[in-house]
Symmetry: C2
Subunit: 348 residues, 2 copies
């Protein structure tokens, strides 16, 4: 079916080697007469010869392709914009270096090593690598370099893995400081049901908790659905908290929606702040105050490191932590202090 080097060689009346050298040879190795070269090129063109990357990979052992492990990739649109930015960051760096990006389907934890070591990828970026220890032996067996992006390195992480992540703890602290300065005294941290075990979520929660303790702020945790339907009940119960700290952008924006529906004004009645400041936070109403991870840079850096490893460099350091910053927008302000202000009527 496909036209091969052999076909071209025969048609041109030369050897396969000659064709290979002329068509794919780099620089010096091409010691073939100009006339022959011309014939070869013309024949290749005429026959519409296209080289087989598969055969070449088998031979050379490289693919110029990087794999991306991203659980729930097919739900990208339902998640925060944050992940789209991450994908952009990875893709940009890859494409700049003429690499392809392969998205892997969900892999069973039990056969991670074979899936990543099948020779089709020169390296792998693993997003939000879960902190499950049964994965580590599998990853250690993997025959290509792996970098974990956007997952804090847990205690006993494999030391042949590179981690690129953000300082969730510092980010949470920024939020708490911001709220404290505004005069808030009671903070409710909103966790999302089903995400309680996510490394990011737990890190943010513990960071917020600690910071509140240090600052002497009251701190509680609620676990809500992604749509934050629980908001209404919470509000109706007349909570003492004056600020909601959502574990991520998505939930924060849902909270904003619920506020609007129930007539709760933000930041008048309650301040709302989230993690992961993205362009999307500029479009909510009110615009959402949020912690910003330099995700494009993080993704770019992770990719950069991976490419270096592919070329044989030993990564140093193995843990790359990016600091967070706080993008103050319009969803936070000073609370209506201790005065007893009548709360807006709840309408359902």
């Amino acid at each position: 079916m496909a036209v091969t080097l052999k076909d071209v060689a025969e048609a041109a009346g030369v050897s396969i080697t000659a064709v290979s050298k002329v068509l794919h040879g780099s620089g010096k190795s091409v010691r073939i007469g100009l006339e022959t070269q011309k014939v070869i090129r013309e024949t290749a063109e005429r026959l519409q010869y296209y080289p087989s990357a598969v055969a070449r990979s088998l031979r050379t052992g490289t693919t110029r392709t990087v794999g991306l492990v991203f659980e729930n990739f097919g739900e990208l649109s339902a998640g925060p914009m944050y992940y789209v930015l991450m994908l952009d960051g990875v893709a940009r760096e890859l494409f700049r270096n003429h690499y392809r990006l392969t998205i892997l389907p969900e892999i069973e934890h039990s056969d991670v090593a074979p899936a990543l070591s099948d020779g089709r990828m020169d390296g792998v970026i693993w997003c939000k690598l879960p902190a499950e220890t049964d994965l580590y032996p599998q990853i250690r067996r993997t025959r290509v370099p792996v970098v974990a992006l956007n997952a804090p390195a847990p205690e006993n992480h494999p030391d042949d893995l590179v981690y690129v992540f953000c300082d969730n703890d510092g980010g949470a602290r920024l939020v708490v400081e911001h709220l404290a300065e505004l005069g808030h005294a009671q903070v409710l941290f909103v966790m999302e049901r089903g995400e309680e075990e996510t490394p990011d979520a737990t890190a943010r929660l513990s960071g917020a908790k600690r910071a509140c303790a240090e600052r002497g702020l009251g701190f509680e945790v609620a676990t809500w659905s992604r749509e934050a339907w629980e908001f209404a009940d919470w509000w109706r119960a007349g909570p003492t908290h004056t600020a909601l700290f959502a574990w991520n952008e998505r939930v924060a924006s849902e909270i904003l929606k619920r506020c609007r529906e129930t007539g709760v004004s933000v930041p008048g009645d309650v301040s709302v702040v989230g993690f992961d400041s993205t362009p999307y936070c500029d479009t909510t109403s009110p615009r959402l105050t949020a912690v910003k991870q330099p995700i494009l840079e993080m993704a770019g850096q992770a990719t950069r490191v991976l490419l270096d490893m592919i070329e044989g460099t030993t990564p140093d350091p193995r843990l790359v932590v990016f600091p967070c910053s706080l993008d103050v927008r319009d969803s936070t302000s000073s609370p209506r202090s201790a005065e007893r202000v009548p709360r807006p009527v709840f309408s359902k």
Copy 2:
């Protein structure tokens, strides 16, 4: 470096064939003694043998991988959410069928055929395939099936290509009808600078134009930047249009932002409607009335058809057009009729 079938065979004291059959053989062909099987499996496990997908591909000629051509993939986050949904649709269908997804870097128009015919992909989905005729010969030469997703089929499209797209024309008509019913008489279609040649953009423009003509509505076109900075000047000039029809969701939402900034109320002062209703449109304020393409279904269908083609089915039909619907939200209403209502003061 890597452990191969040969290594396992030697270690187990059997032939390569035996190992291949036991480890990868399907059903009947595995006519190997149970005892031998056991030995082979144990040896493979002990040696940590992982099959080479590359070698297998070279041999079998298939890869279980589909390529995605998506210009500007690295700018996904800057575009409408629509494309993220599309990606989700493709990925879901692919993963359901145990295919991998490879995102290709930008390809030169001149070497599309080699890039797509390098044997690493069983088929290709091409998003927003430009209507440039110099691409067609290249695509025709491609050795794997290609389906164009989200690009209307132009006049002289290659007939070995499958197109899956939406009825832009019908969608634009829905908008015009909606506006007409609300009583609008003058519509401004907002095109985005740099996108004037996009197949989708042109189709929507012409659809809107025609529908307005048929309905007797006034119709004009403006080409604005993505951020719609031109809005302020336009408004200041005291336009006669009472409705803005943006070519896509993104621009529409920017227009909403400009309205807020300049104190123009939507839909009170002006109605705004866009193309591509996505969950994002529920988060704007006011919520954006928009034309909905069933993009998840479209992407799934395109992928489905491609997989069928990969398995040898001849596609029928070659043009799959999905109807659009209109998601009426809060950004459209009846205009303040002909009464001379004082416009809000423009503050800059």
